[in-house]
């Protein structure tokens, strides 16, 4: 049986036996990813809507290219930056977040945020500008205008969620640096894959990869169902 066949068998075996260390790794992966995603959405969606709607915002000419650049930040650089901030000598060293899941969430949030802001902004800008004006005329507050416009742009906003989710669940450089891949504490699927590959356990590494892809697929399947339902009207 080749490596690939063994990998599928291993993946199945790990899942079937609910391998405790796998369960722990998957749980932490989901925790870190979802926490970072939720924080990035809470900050990024309103920010993206604000920038998207404020077409005459001063400094927009600089802000928008900065956001676009942020969308392509190399995760490893974010990891390094977060590491320096959270390390003992760093400004936030006192928090003791380095090599903890909280530190990993910080790094992942920084990676996800520009994606959420940029894609939300683009989705909102795709809406006919007369819509916010007509909502104002119907008595909407600025905040309500943003809410209504976001709902109109819901398909695009869901795409922002999907992109951010995909970027952080598959990310390895930042969580490796900031988390340290400590078994039972900061090991997530991607860093486990790196470790098992280095150890020569290719089948196990591949099995973990298959599980990671499976989780990503299931989540995206759910996001897509949501998008289809929203698209009806």
């Amino acid at each position: 049986m080749g490596t690939l066949g063994k990998a599928f068998a291993d993946a199945f075996g790990l899942l079937w036996n609910l391998d405790p260390s796998l369960v722990e790794t998957v749980a932490l992966t989901l925790q870190v990813t979802l926490a970072a995603l939720v924080i990035a959405l809470l900050i990024g969606v309103p920010l993206g809507a604000g920038v998207g709607l404020a077409r005459r915002l001063p400094g927009r000419w600089l802000l928008v290219p900065l956001i676009y650049t942020g969308m392509g930040l190399p995760p490893v650089v974010v990891g390094l930056f977060t590491y320096l901030i959270l390390s003992n000598q760093g400004p936030l060293g006192g928090l003791g977040w380095l090599f903890t899941p909280v530190g990993m969430i910080v790094a992942q949030t920084i990676i996800a945020l520009p994606l959420v802001v940029g894609l939300t902004m683009a989705a909102v800008q795709g809406i006919d500008p007369s819509l916010p004006v007509q909502m104002l005329s119907l008595g909407a507050t600025r905040r309500q205008v943003a809410g209504v416009t976001l709902l109109e742009a819901r398909v695009g906003v869901t795409a922002a969620v999907v992109a951010a989710y995909g970027a952080i669940i598959s990310e390895v450089g930042a969580v490796m640096l900031v988390g340290g891949n400590i078994e039972g504490e900061t090991r997530v699927l991607t860093t486990a894959i790196v470790l098992e590959t280095r150890r020569g356990n290719f089948a196990l590494a591949l099995a973990l990869g298959i599980i990671l892809l499976g989780i990503a697929f299931l989540t995206n399947f759910a996001f897509h169902r949501l998008q289809v339902r929203q698209g009806v009207r």
């Binding site: 007369s130 007509q134 909502m135 104002l136 005329s137 119907l138 008595g139 507050t141 209504v148 009207r233």
Partner: protein
């Protein structure tokens, strides 16, 4: 006569081009004022100023006795609403579009108001239809219903019957007259249809190149215009 709006030296300019230039204008509470005039005259821009969607470059707009500038109080903004030349409906059901104004005000949306307005505009059958699939005339009636359901003190109408068949034009004019009579709604109607102005307006104004050329009681405006440009416009000459 109570004054709904008073404009003093109001100008609205894009760059150095002023598309609205109105030295003085009063709109009485409870009147129906029609504004006619050539395309590009600044009629829609004037309505945006009256709806406080833009602030004038210069001059002062007084609404119900208060000078309104800078941040317009929400209560004043909610007193006025527009039916736009090109209504933009939400990607939701027709009924959801009709009740949006009440929802934005935090008012009850379950009550019969939505149904009543759907019915008044002949939209009952379409209540659950996605609004984006409507024909132009249907969409215009939805825009009308969603404006009237908030019971505005001032109703601004920008070519509201452009896409309607004669039956629905009559229906809308009846509703405007009824709201004006029953609730004292002030109406400013921009129209290219002179007969419509004659049918429902108390006063009529001609606007050209940003200025009010003539403003008079509707009857006098059409039968005995004082300004030669009004006469020319009514005869179908191009005005600049």
């Amino acid at each position: 006569m109570n004054t709904a709006y008073r404009l003093d030296d109001v100008r609205h300019c894009y760059g150095d081009r002023c598309v609205v230039d109105v030295p003085a204008l009063e709109i009485a509470t409870g009147e129906i004022l029609a504004i006619i005039g050539p395309s590009g005259a600044g009629k829609s821009t004037l309505l945006r100023l009256l709806d406080f969607l833009e602030s004038p470059t210069d001059g002062a707009i007084t609404y119900a006795g208060d000078v309104v500038d800078g941040d317009v109080p929400l209560a004043i903004r909610r007193d006025v609403t527009t039916v736009f030349q090109r209504p933009m409906l939400l990607r939701r059901s027709v009924a959801a579009n009709v009740r949006i104004g009440r929802k934005l005000r935090g008012l009850d949306t379950k009550g019969g108001d939505t149904e009543r307005w759907l019915e008044r505009l002949g939209l009952t059958e379409l209540a659950d239809a996605p609004a984006r699939t409507l024909s132009a005339g249907e969409a215009q009636r939805v825009a009308f219903a969603r404006a009237l359901i908030v019971e505005p003190s001032v109703l601004l109408l920008d070519e509201p019957t452009g896409n309607l068949d004669p039956y629905n034009v009559g229906l809308l004019e009846d509703i405007v007259r009824a709201e004006n009579a029953d609730r004292g709604t002030t109406v400013v109607l921009v129209t290219h249809d002179e007969f419509q102005a004659r049918r429902i307006a108390n006063r009529t104004a001609l606007m050209a190149s940003g200025s009010i050329v003539e403003l008079a009681d509707t009857e006098a405006f059409f039968t005995a215009p004082e300004d030669p440009r009004t006469a020319a416009f009514l005869e179908g000459d191009l005005l600049y």
